[in-house]
Symmetry: D2
Subunit: 345 residues, 4 copies
């Protein structure tokens, strides 16, 4: 039984990791930390875990923690992660980092969008943890940078088209909408029920920090630097991201070619589901699951393709994908612990 720990267990992502790991047959959750809630039972913070997870949350004392687990999930804010991850690696632990700190290969790009990077020497050993793109590298790595929620939904949606050279990368516009759990569990006026319910807004228009991460991965697929328009929005619901993505089709590209590209690319993928012609995904049909559902339509009037992708931001967009990465690193079956059916309604 592989022992694993969660650093930063009091946020929604930490809780979701605990929820998934509690039933995972190949690992044992032995550590959960939270500075703020140290000393409390995890099931007192999240009563859904009552009678299921019997762990007391503790403060972060790396030297102690590393004795009790082989792999750690770091579910802490960016900037905090870059302080913890090197220590864990140096003590011989494997790490799946859910922050942004090791996702951007180029420290200069990171620093342009975030702040100074204090552990740039670890960037080269970090693998961008999107298994559908980088499975073999992940298997061999000790540090996985778990992708952002928005990037997961956008990269998976466009990868087959970019890889196949079917769209013009310079024309990509990603209009994304996320449930409020993506904003985390910190007390803030902006995410109070009354501020979010029965309302909808855009935020960080043309300046969201997930942009460089998306561009990095899309650029690799396109074989050249790409700049995209990306607008995130806040949905009046808890879970789910839906991205609507627009791009110009290259001349002569038709529907069968597009379908073939998606089917070929995702033929063996357990967690990607393709909608039939004329069907589109909806977040309520992936809720609580690690699925990414994809649908698309070619529009002959405009020469554009519209692609729609849906994920649960806390699962395929965070904790589920992190467990998928853990499975790969640890040599477990990739879908172990993730074979749930989306909860609808």
């Amino acid at each position: 039984m592989i022992k694993v720990g969660i650093i930063g267990a009091s946020g929604y992502t930490g809780e979701e990791l605990a929820r998934i790991l509690a039933l995972h047959p190949g690992v044992e959750l032995t550590v959960a930390t939270s500075r703020q809630y140290a000393g409390k039972k995890l099931s007192d913070i999240f009563p859904n875990l009552r009678k299921i997870v019997d762990l007391t949350v503790e403060d972060v004392v790396i030297d102690e923690l590393v004795k009790r687990a082989d792999l750690f999930f770091t579910a802490v804010p960016h900037q905090t992660a870059m302080g913890l991850v090197p220590q864990l690696l140096e003590k011989g632990c494997k790490v799946v980092d859910l922050s942004a700190d090791f996702r951007i290969h180029d420290a200069a790009v990171y620093e342009e969008w975030y702040q100074t990077h204090t552990a740039p020497e670890y960037l080269s050993q970090a693998v961008y943890g999107l298994p559908e793109l980088h499975r073999e590298l992940i298997k061999k790595s000790r540090l996985v940078a778990n992708p952002g929620c928005y990037p997961t939904s956008i990269i998976l949606a466009t990868a087959p088209l970019l890889k196949g050279g079917l769209i013009d990368p310079a024309t990509i516009i990603a209009d994304s909408k996320s449930g409020a759990s993506g904003a985390g569990r910190g007390a803030a006026v902006g995410t109070l029920f009354c501020e979010v319910a029965e309302g909808f807004k855009a935020y960080k228009v043309a300046e969201h920090r997930h942009t460089p991460e998306i561009e990095q991965e899309i650029g690799k697929l396109a074989g050249r630097p790409v700049v995209i328009s990306f607008t995130p929005h806040l949905l009046p619901m808890a879970r789910g991201i839906l991205s609507t993505i627009y791009a110009k089709l290259l001349p002569g590209v038709d529907g069968p070619q597009v379908r073939a590209a998606y089917e070929e690319f995702y033929r063996h993928e357990r967690f990607v589901r393709l909608c039939g012609a004329g069907e589109f995904p909806a977040t309520q049909f992936v809720r609580g699951s690690n699925f990414c559902d994809l649908g698309w339509k070619l529009d002959p009037r405009t020469g554009r393709i519209v692609i729609v992708s849906a994920i649960d931001n806390l699962v395929k967009g965070a904790a589920g994908q992190a467990v998928q990465n853990m499975n790969l690193i640890c040599g477990l079956p990739e879908e172990m612990g993730l074979a749930t059916v989306p909860l609808f309604p």
Copy 2:
């Protein structure tokens, strides 16, 4: 592998059965029926089941269906069930009936609240399927009347106090609130999003059909006929029932006695969770699970106890409890297929 079928698979309860059974390691779902959707794939009706359940919904032809399954869940409206269930039993199948048709032992009481009963001769062989109360009878039965959602939440909340003679049964008032999935998937103005969202109301005040079912079971526990006040309400959410129940404590009853009664009664129950002193359940912490969470408070000012219970109406209030009953009937471990962690947020 035990083969099972769902009659009435296109409603929320039918879908929830499919969701649970899809991952159940002891049974195989071989039949799903729906008159309305016959010929469609179940995963086209409920896209959350894509890539997971590969069944085509068919019309109800009992003679054919019985060859393909050993046990049937009948998730059809009352009055329809009483026509189907006898046929299934006569063909040698076991039945977990999710309608109200076999819950009331006394046909006269049934007919007072519903309509004429056309199969009263089967009432005596039906067992009221609340495992925490009637486990041994269920194990031996071939026809389980799966409890209503509201009754489950109210009977489990009061059973230890009634059994222990700690409250006056004549003073019981149950104020219950349910999510909209309890109203089913039929197209109706009253359950449109815009009618339900950002709103709250009572309905069927002092005349809801679950009343006689609650009174029957509470009466058994109290050892005498009981009449209660029961008011259901419609919550602006999909899943969950919370019942707030009031009763006068009998003279001299104190807090430790009450706690002892609950702990004793539910000591070995996998699906009942007791809150600590000063804690109360919330529906969001049982969502998607078969748990019933219970909390209570003695109020010395009024001499009353207030009990609060929370269940997921589609799971412990319907499909989950039905699978629990199936497990008991079929000799499988009672919790098989039901060991999920509630989905929060």
Copy 3:
């Protein structure tokens, strides 16, 4: 034009006051304070007020404020109010206080449920501001204690029956459910969208501070001390309170008597609407309005009456009622500025 000010304008109640006063033809809003947001435009805090309210929020400097308004609404927490209100009164201003500080006539009772009262000498001049009960007193007062939201919904629902001696006051149970705006706009984990949405819970069971206020007013109507059971719940919606109230009917009381009592009591009330037989109120039909809708049912099986009342907690439960009180104090038509149609859906 009467000049009025809002002390505590950055909460939901303060904002609601501004919303109503902005269109009120008889008064001018000249002052809005908030320690936290001093210096910001009110319409930057609440962008719904853009182009409508052009006030800059300022810090609370009583000596300055009193020069600029004749009447103040104090929409601050209890304990804060008792420090401010005496100063305002002494400077000759009229006050509608939306806190709990002046609602309880008996300082000892107040201190039992809240904390020490530092201005008990003002209690005797405060009028409990429920116009349907105390209109004439309000007209003559300079300090109105605006009722709590729950109390408004419960007292209006039971007043005709208590006044008429139709129910046994000792048997009253009030099960109330409130939207999240009642919890205020302070940043807190418990009222985050993800904690409240798709969920429902009871809180402060048998210990909510609105209890003594309800009992005081119900006791006056009953002509003797009354103790009630009161349970508040948190609804996954922003606005609205629905109270379901149970009581034993006194022997011989019948339906026509009950209806006559309600119709007589509320015959001339502009803001109370009685449902027809078999109809019940819903919060979505009073949203944004100052109405209190009432429905009820006699249950011959139990000898109880079930009364259901619905209000918008921010309007009739707070700001709307405060403006109604202001109109009375200032000699304006009682419904001035309050003649809105509930917003549905």
Copy 4:
């Protein structure tokens, strides 16, 4: 007092018209029709109107109705409207038609997206009722084609830029999101609470019928035919449309130019509010009002502008704009009856 009638009063748009007209000081609502609900009181269908609107809904008998009102709002489905409107006009009534039947000037275009047009001879006298664009024509017309909800949000957002020649019309992509009230009040599985809540999806991708209407008006502003990408989505909320619109800026266009264009264009508009730099609209801040809030951002990385607009789909997107048009036709002050403050939260 001008007498007005609503044909089709049982849908959300009809109800919203009644809500607004009930308080309108310049008109009297004398007629409300609904085939389905004929004989019922409007306030029984919509209990928010209790004690406010005292009209009985009647069947549509044009010859009778025209005697009782001078102007009619036709809030019926397209195709039904084209049968009724000519009759009303011929009897001398004025009409504000809320259907799509008279919005498209070119019958051939209409028939391509809808179905056969049976009254094309009336298209030339219909004015597209967007007052901010066509105020003078509206004033003189007898038949106003009230704009669609999505078109209102998109045309107002782009008009200043198109008029000013600041963007390339061929690059316009409109990603729009609407609350569920836009889908109407018909009983349908797809708009049940449980299907819509906690979920989000795109629909009618690249084929929504509002497309030609948007292109017609945008084309007029651009001075040449325009083809756009338009994707509507369904939000888990009742009211509100937010459109996020992308376009390439023409070479050399900068921020101050863009702001000047918006300020100039909307300087005298009562119902358009411009956000400050770095601010964006949200639907919750226009709820229940006739406002259209606009914000935008230039993105130097991509050379695109992102414009965000928010309206209440039932008010500025339907009934409010219809009343604005009625005011213009009838020579009343344009904002009469529409001076409400958005309801937040």
